[in-house]
């Protein structure tokens, strides 16, 4: 009889692995994968924390949140109309000093933008809050606007994570970025942390290793040859439901690092991350949504301000402008 597992994630967040398949990532990736980085492909097996693995005293975790405050429409002089999106977004860094037992917000920044393709749009001052205009190229259909927010948000995250380390870095700390690294790869000692598995990167033989991981174990490091690729590995966090792919996260680091550096980072990550895993009754995305990230997101959401107040302020501001 087939064993069944209830996914730990709240259904509204989707699943920790998305796609048609019932056990594992959906679509296959066409990426070139180099499996022989750490161990030869044929000898792949779950790896424990190595005895000499270093756990950094200070871990930075970066995340951003965004919220659409209002959808707008412009009426141009020439009678055309463009869609607009007023969004608030914030990025922040948590500095977890594990030696001292202090987790604090090392930096947070809130920004608001008005995303539109309208050539004549200007900044909107809604009460005490200013929505800076971000002009989008192209036709600017309403459906494409939300994606446009990601760029400024990522920029904000990069800015804030660089600033967080200014305060003092001992050179051994670790920066964890929520989501793929993408254009944040230039940050030193940084790993990307991918919660949801949407693509098959590994060939079937090696992928079979992943469900066999026990909490606190990882796969060997492999190399992805895609545009945003780099060194990557899977690991399983504690507190998973027991389903084959539950509690599995993919971690990546910059392709500019040497294989040895990547392997070292993999060792550090598997020693560090399990400590941050959340528990199911507290977080709908447990265990992948890390405790500091969840706390950070709550703080950042609080900093975005009250959505209804902003919506009302925007309505007032735009009606005054008429």
């Amino acid at each position: 009889m087939t064993r069944m597992f209830v996914d730990a994630w709240d259904p509204s967040y989707g699943s920790s692995f998305e796609g048609d398949g019932a056990d594992g990532p959906g679509s296959s990736s066409s990426a070139q994968v180099d499996l022989d980085v750490e161990v030869p492909a044929a000898e792949w097996a779950p790896m424990d924390v190595s005895a000499g693995a270093r756990v950094p005293d200070v871990v930075f975790l970066v995340d951003g949140v965004r919220r659409n405050d209002a959808g707008l429409w412009t009426a141009e002089e020439d009678g055309t109309t463009y869609a607009g999106l007023a969004a608030s977004y914030a990025a922040g860094v948590v500095r977890c000093d594990l030696a001292r037992g202090v987790a604090e917000l090392a930096g947070a920044r809130v920004s608001r933008g008005l995303f539109t393709a309208s050539p004549s749009a200007t900044d909107v001052q809604a009460g005490s809050v200013r929505y800076e205009v971000h002009r989008i190229s192209g036709t600017g259909e309403a459906s494409k606007l939300p994606a446009a927010v990601q760029g400024p948000l990522t920029a904000l995250e990069i800015e804030i994570s660089a600033a967080a380390r200014d305060g003092g870095s001992d050179g051994t700390d670790l920066l964890i970025v929520d989501g793929p690294l993408r254009n944040r790869r230039q940050l030193p000692r940084t790993i990307g942390y991918v919660k949801t598995q949407q693509k098959h990167y590994l060939p079937a033989a090696q992928e079979a290793i992943v469900p066999r991981l026990r909490p606190g174990q990882r796969t060997p490091v492999f190399h992805l040859g895609t545009v945003w690729g780099g060194w990557s590995w899977y690991l399983r966090l504690p507190g998973s439901s027991g389903a084959p792919w539950s509690g599995i996260v993919r971690v990546e680091c910059s392709p500019e690092l040497s294989p040895d550096q990547a392997i070292e980072l993999a060792g550090v990550s598997v020693a560090t991350l399990p400590r941050f895993a959340s528990s199911a009754y507290k977080d709908p995305r447990a265990p992948q949504n890390l405790v500091p990230i969840a706390g950070l997101e709550r703080r950042l959401r609080g900093m975005l301000g009250d959505a209804r107040v902003l919506h009302r302020a925007l309505s007032l501001a735009t009606s005054h402008g008429r």
Partner: protein
């Protein structure tokens, strides 16, 4: 105005406060309602506010001067912001969950100036009030005469408005608290000391008299003895309050005569000098109608026998004739209280004489009820009502002829005798005051265990006297400083007539009673763990009770800590007051010459 702003660390409201010397301690919260009478303040990281701290904030108004809102901290709380579950505290302590400790303080407004009751604006800067701002917040600046009563939690003096003590606008003090740790009597004596020595009441304070009933132990018998345990810190505390650290200068102590002792020597064991015996002669007993005070419930309408009490009193008043200390009635010489009781009972049980003593309509059962109670009183009162001691010898408690402080020692007396002494003494004093018709000099009466003398239920002659004092004493200059373990058991009219209410440590069940409604909830909880020497004082001027710490007494409270007695106490009152005393008795001879 929109409660969302991108400005971080904005100086909203910062310019409003004109106190650059005192750093801000926080800002008014916006997540809880700010009202003109109560609001919450978020405390700045790195700062703190404790209960009873005095703070001040300002509110700008269009076209008007800014409103200053001052208050005291009545509650403080700290919590993790960013934590959702109780167990998050472990993740926070572990350093994995970012959270912030945020303290907030509830402020109860004490003063709004000018009187424009607007709430403080959320975000407004809150300062700790010091100096003049603190005095204004606690209304001390509006008190013309301020009697120091100790220091606040911040170590700065707090005052009592003398207008509410001397009868100008109010009078009477009610002190509640459990026995032993509440230090009710200590506070009462300290308050008296402050009235006498602070100079705030001017001539009234110097001329004022105090009548203190010592109900427990001999701790009030050494008021004029310096305290040998007085240290420099206590002296500094007195200096801070503007008071000399010294014992009461002018004290006279009265004690009942020793039981079974025919010489009438005072019954005290620890204080050996300067103690005088008090008693009543049989002639006084009959002449001033003291018989009702023998009975605890002599005015109770439900009791039949009270009729007999009053007719016997009237009979004694009319027919008793003084005779060499004792009295003569119906041709019989009576020289002791026992004899008097026996005589009355005999006359009442005799069918021939009963009607002349008790009236004709009294049945035998009622007479027996009276006789039973009267006979019971023999043992307790015979040492106080005497027919065997010289009449001329001064033996009455009279504050007008006595020292500034008169201490009446009752602790050796049984309950009935205590009631008799308190009732008769207060009645005499009050009648004197009524006769003189002036409210000056002031007379402070300190009486512990008020619940025994003026219980909420029932009626008695003593309770009537106390009620009289509570209701009319203000205009006659008789100020009652009453203490009790439980204000809920004291006659309500006495408690409500007290302008100043003081609470020390309270019993948990007692603290929840409506008599303590003047205490805010947090203070009520604190009263359960108040330390000795800490009192909560409520006065009509200030809407919030003040937490007061009063200094350790500068006078001895027991034999072991008493220094050498002052020279005057070595002289006896007998020499001091009796014009027929041995020649030279007043000139300062130090030995007690027996009369």
């Amino acid at each position: 105005m929109i409660p969302v702003s991108d400005e971080t660390g904005s100086a909203r409201g910062g310019k409003l406060n004109a106190q650059p010397d005192v750093g801000p301690v926080g800002r008014v919260l916006g997540t809880a309602d700010a009202t003109p009478l109560q609001f919450w303040t978020a405390v700045n990281p790195g700062s703190y506010l404790q209960l009873d701290d005095v703070v001040v904030t300002k509110r700008d108004l269009p076209d008007r001067e800014p409103v200053t809102i001052a208050g005291v901290v009545t509650q403080v709380r700290a919590r993790h912001e960013g934590a959702q579950f109780d167990s998050d505290v472990f993740a926070i302590a572990d350093g994995t969950l970012p959270a912030m400790v945020q303290e907030a303080a509830e402020i109860t407004t004490t003063r709004v100036d000018p009187e424009l009751y607007v709430p403080p604006a959320p975000g407004a800067v809150v300062h700790r009030a010091t100096g003049d701002a603190r005095d204004a917040a606690l209304h001390f600046d509006r008190m013309e005469r301020r009697v120091p009563m100790g220091t606040g939690r911040d170590g700065v003096p707090v005052f009592l408005n003398a207008d509410f003590l001397d009868g100008t606008r109010g009078a009477h003090v009610s002190i509640s608290g459990i026995s032993g740790v509440a230090t009710k009597t200590s506070f009462a004596t300290f308050l008296l000391y402050s009235v006498f020595r602070s100079g705030q009441l001017g001539a009234d304070g110097t001329n004022a008299r105090a009548l203190i009933f010592n109900v427990k132990g001999e701790d009030l018998l050494f008021l004029d003895h310096p305290n040998t345990k007085l240290d420099d810190r206590t002296r500094e505390a007195y200096a801070l309050l503007g008071l000399p650290a010294a014992p009461f200068p002018d004290v006279r102590v009265y004690a009942p005569p020793r039981a079974g002792d025919s010489s009438g020597a005072p019954d005290v064991s620890s204080r050996l000098t300067g103690v005088d015996a008090f008693y009543w002669t049989l002639a006084e007993f009959c002449d001033t109608k003291l018989l009702p005070y023998v009975f605890a419930d002599a005015d109770d309408e439900r009791q039949q026998y009270t009729m007999v009490v009053h007719s016997v009193t009237a009979h004694l008043n009319r027919y008793a004739v003084p005779a060499e200390g004792g009295i003569s009635i119906d041709g019989k010489r009576i020289s002791s209280y026992q004899d008097l009781v026996d005589h009355i009972v005999e006359q009442l049980t005799d069918d021939d004489t009963r009607s002349t003593w008790a009236g004709s309509a009294v049945n035998m059962g009622t007479v027996n009820a009276f006789a039973r109670r009267l006979i019971n009183s023999k043992r307790d009162l015979s040492r106080l009502i005497r027919g065997d001691l010289a009449q001329r010898r001064p033996h009455q408690i009279k504050t007008a002829d006595s020292a500034q402080v008169t201490v009446v020692d009752l602790h050796n007396l049984p309950d009935r005798a205590q009631r008799f002494v308190v009732g008769v003494t207060l009645k005499t004093e009050f009648e004197e005051k009524e006769k003189s018709g002036t409210g000056r000099p002031l007379l402070f009466v300190v009486l512990d265990e008020l619940n025994k003398y003026a219980p909420r239920e029932g009626s008695s002659p003593i309770k009537e006297v106390l009620l009289d004092i509570a209701e009319r004493g203000r205009s006659l200059g008789v100020i009652l400083i009453g203490a009790q373990q439980t204000a809920s058991e004291v006659e309500r009219r006495i408690v409500t007539n007290s302008a100043i209410r003081v609470v020390g440590r309270l019993d948990p069940a007692e603290a929840s009673r409506p008599e303590y409604g003047f205490l805010p909830p947090a203070m009520r909880q604190r009263a359960l763990l108040a330390r000795p020497g800490t009192m909560f004082v409520n006065q009509p001027d200030i809407p919030v009770p003040l937490c007061v710490e009063f200094p350790f007494p500068a006078w001895a409270t027991r034999k072991s800590e008493s220094g050498p007695p002052p020279a005057e106490t070595l002289r006896s009152i007998v020499q001091g007051a009796d014009p027929f005393a041995v020649v030279g008795g007043r000139s300062g001879a130090d030995d007690d010459i027996p009369f």
